[in-house]
């Protein structure tokens, strides 16, 4: 056991690999070269089209103990991972690792295969029941939670080698050219899958929309794809939307959004060239709405909107408030349709989006990002992975990547969630380190990290309710009372990897 710089106890190794305790957000320098994979040759006349998923699994050479990957661009509407795992189980394979870009509640279907040993563990974060059961000790499989940028890094540097990538390809030809723009399962950007296609040893394109050669535009080219398989359905694109995509009408949420928008203005960021990222969700969209109005009012011409892209950002692009969208993932159907018709709506890979170990990611160019939290502590550390019951329920997404990259990262959260205060002495799990968080905005006050002293003064001058974070905590606790701390066993059920590969925290089994 060693303590990392945030005071969390990190074991020396996990799932057979040594762990590096987290030190600070920017210090680790990468060494070595990017991962290699075998050279290939496909001669004229050779076919890539196979007749079934099972045939493709067999052709890929998948063996016991190997690692597979899928992308999560269809989010909770993805059918592919469940089908692949079912086929793998039928084939009698065991000990397979999943290194998908994310796992969603819909994938709870694979839980029996975890129990039976077909699936050995996860080289990625998980959303929903799998994490909950792991935290309760009801299933046993290692989980390494990674950020979007961190996952791209781990694959590119070779610390997580993918043996076979199965890529859901909403629009694909028989030679493996594909995009996500068109077809019954269109999901828009294939930003995560671009990494898998480039670095996995074998690449299988799976489509429900085989079109005549060649598919254009090409998001992932034929040169990277070994096999093509047709299935009846890849997924349900209506379920790409995992949270609300409508601006909140809750007065508390609107109050938070109003403060957040005023913080952005006070920071002096709202000028020509402004770049911005928000997630989906009612409060984030309410901030976007207020920012949009302020940009209109000031005739401000922004630079780019980034991230998971919503119809909201599409409207801002079309209105001329941004000159481009940098899209690693589409969050709704409006975004999916836009990326297929608008050249200024640029598809970017997870590497370009957020990998810390390349010659500069898009997050480094962000002025401002709006982020959520399940808990924040008095050192500004943020938890988005576990809930206050200690269960691992959420993947990190781009949270730590954008917080580290943006000039100003703003956490928006209601001060009370499920009767519990949002500000704690110590968050249950650290996802994102406090040194990369600028401001915490709640309806009861705004706490500014001391590294933004000038912004703090400006907010006070503008008569916004600025409070020390401890003061904010005490004020909230006067309403809620102080919650009893959770109790955990020693057993580590998941590790939370920071974007650079160091370990920022671990998730332990909850004492029931």
């Amino acid at each position: 056991m060693a303590l990392n710089s945030l005071g969390r106890e990190i074991p020396e190794s996990y799932a057979g690999k040594p762990l590096i305790p987290y030190g600070d957000p920017f210090a680790i320098r990468p060494v070595g070269t990017v991962a290699a994979r075998p050279l290939k040759r496909v001669n004229p006349g050779e076919k890539k089209l196979l007749s079934s998923l099972r045939e493709a699994i067999e052709a890929s050479g998948l063996k016991d103990g190997m690692t597979i990957a899928t992308h999560h661009s269809l989010r909770n509407g993805d059918f592919l991972l469940n089908r692949i795992v079912a086929e793998i189980a039928d084939l009698g394979l065991r000990g397979i690792w999943i290194a998908s870009s994310s796992v969603h509640p819909v994938h709870a279907e694979i839980i029996p295969h975890i129990k039976s040993g077909v699936i050995a563990g996860f080289q990625c974060g998980v959303n929903g029941l799998i994490g909950e059961m792991a935290t309760k000790g009801e299933i046993s499989c290692p989980i390494v939670v990674r950020t979007h940028g961190g996952r791209a890094r781990s694959v590119i540097e070779g610390s997580v080698p993918i043996d076979v990538a199965f890529i859901a390809a909403p629009c694909c030809d028989e030679y493996g050219n594909m995009n996500g723009y068109y077809g019954p399962s269109a999901c828009g950007s294939l930003g995560y899958a671009q990494i898998d296609a480039t670095y996995a040893s074998r690449v299988v394109a799976v489509t429900d929309n085989l079109v005549p050669f060649p598919v254009v535009p090409v998001s992932i080219p034929q040169t990277l794809v070994d096999y093509v398989v047709v299935v009846d359905r890849l997924g349900d694109p209506a379920k790409i939307v995992s949270t609300t995509t409508r601006v909140t009408t809750d007065p508390v949420g609107l109050q938070i959004a109003s403060y957040a928008a005023q913080v952005i203005e006070a920071a002096g960021l709202l000028r020509d060239g402004f770049s911005f990222q928000t997630g989906s969700g009612g409060i984030s969209l309410a901030v976007a709405e207020k920012v949009r109005n302020a940009m209109r009012k000031g005739s401000i011409k922004g630079s780019f909107g980034c991230g998971g892209i919503t119809g909201y950002f599409v409207e801002m692009l079309e209105e001329g408030l941004f000159s481009a969208l940098m899209d690693v993932q589409c969050f709704d159907q409006e975004a999916v349709q836009s990326i297929g018709r608008n050249r200024a709506h640029q598809e970017i890979s997870a590497d370009m989006y957020a990998n810390p170990f390349n010659a500069g990611a898009v997050v480094n160019r962000l002025d401002c990002v709006i982020l959520g939290a399940t808990e924040v502590d008095t050192s500004f550390n943020v938890n988005v992975n576990t809930e206050s019951n200690g269960y691992l329920l959420h993947n990190t997404g781009g949270h730590s990547d954008t917080a580290a990259g943006a000039k100003l990262s703003i956490i928006v959260a209601p001060s009370i969630r499920g009767r519990l205060p949002i500000v704690r002495d110590r968050v249950t799990t650290i996802t994102t380190p406090g040194e990369t968080i600028g401001v915490v905005v709640t309806e009861r006050g705004i706490a500014v990290n001391e590294k933004h002293a000038e912004l703090k003064e400006e907010l006070i001058r503008r008569k916004l309710p600025v409070k020390e974070i401890g003061e904010l905590q005490r004020e909230i606790c006067r309403v809620t009372g102080t919650p009893r701390p959770l109790e955990f066993e020693d057993e580590v059920v998941a590790v939370i990897e920071y974007r650079d590969g160091s370990i920022i925290d671990v998730v332990r089994r909850v004492k029931e």
């Binding site: 508390v252 109050q255 009861r444 004020e475 309403v479």
Partner: protein, 306 residues
């Protein structure tokens, strides 16, 4: 102008809803009216007033004016409301159905008795009478003069239109006479005038239009039924940038005039004298509340040294 208090937004909060009461500190309205009257069902009258009392006792870092709308004094709840709530020190009482000066005088007497009993300064509890019937509107002048505790007159259109046996329209033409009469009474007495609620929470454009109308007529504030309405109302009542700049010039000009030993001076070809200065001072105080100017204008700037 001592005791000037900005009252652009007076938000109603039901007195029987703990989840809403606990959010009172977070909204940036100027005043809150905690309702024990229409929002509270008969079966909860007793529980609500105790809930409100405890909320007020625990709300120590007060950041806005707190008014309580009691039940009318001729009901069996009105007196009890005062008895339970006043020891928790609200800033004032919103008196519904203030149809005659006598009704207000009766409340004034009761408040004095409570102040003596609680050993607080006489006049500590203010009164905001609701003129919400034909009779109340007719008696507006008398009501405005019925108690020195009255800091504003509030017009209530919902009950008023009911008493007139008419419907309330989106344009509000049918309210014009009543709105004006309430205003005259308030302005003649030198107190503020607060406009009625706008009930459709989803219609922000309608709210904006109605608030702009009220502001043009002379109202200084509006009652609200939802926190979402605060932003629009504050936006309407915010002085425009050019008004603020002109007001600053006026104050500077009058200070120059005083140094020259006169109370009148020309600014950009127009005469600046006491009424112009007074209007400028009002603009600057509102601008200060909106964070548009950094310092609050002092009395000496307005009236000159004694």
């Amino acid at each position: 102008m001592a005791g000037f208090k900005l009252r652009r937004s007076l938000l109603y909060v039901p007195g029987n809803m703990p989840s809403m009461l606990q959010n009172i500190p977070i909204f940036n309205c100027d005043s809150v009216i905690i309702d024990l009257e229409d929002a509270v069902p008969l079966s909860e009258k007793d529980a609500a007033r105790h809930l409100v009392r405890h909320f007020l006792l625990n709300y120590t870092d007060r950041n806005k004016e707190l008014l309580v709308r009691i039940n009318p004094l001729d009901t069996k709840w009105g007196y009890e409301d005062l008895k339970v709530v006043l020891p928790a020190m609200p800033d004032g009482i919103r008196l519904p159905k203030a149809d005659t000066p006598e009704i207000v005088e009766r409340l004034d007497t009761l408040l004095t008795e409570f102040e003596e009993e609680l050993e607080v300064e006489i006049g500590r509890f203010g009164i905001l009478p609701s003129l919400e019937s034909a009779l109340g509107v007719i008696n507006a002048v008398g009501i405005a003069n019925s108690s020195e505790r009255i800091f504003a007159l509030a017009f209530g259109a919902e009950d008023y239109t009911a008493s007139m046996e008419i419907e309330r329209s989106r344009g509000g033409e049918e309210l014009f006479n009543a709105r004006t009469r309430v205003l005259w009474a308030a302005k003649a007495k030198g107190i503020q005038a607060v406009d009625t609620i706008f009930a459709d929470v989803s219609d922000m454009e309608g709210l904006r239009n109605e608030t702009e109308l009220a502001k043009r007529l002379g109202y200084t504030g509006k009652c609200l039924v939802n926190p979402r309405q605060i932003e629009v109302v504050h936006d309407v009542f915010a002085p425009k940038q050019h008004e603020v700049e002109y007001a600053l010039q006026v104050i500077e000009a009058i200070q120059r005039a005083r140094q020259l030993g006169t109370g009148v001076i020309a600014l950009g070809g127009k005469m600046v004298d006491a009424p112009v200065v007074k209007r400028a001072a009002r603009v600057l105080r509102t601008a200060y509340a909106h964070g548009m100017v950094d310092t609050l204008i002092d009395e000496e700037a307005i009236h000159g040294a004694q």
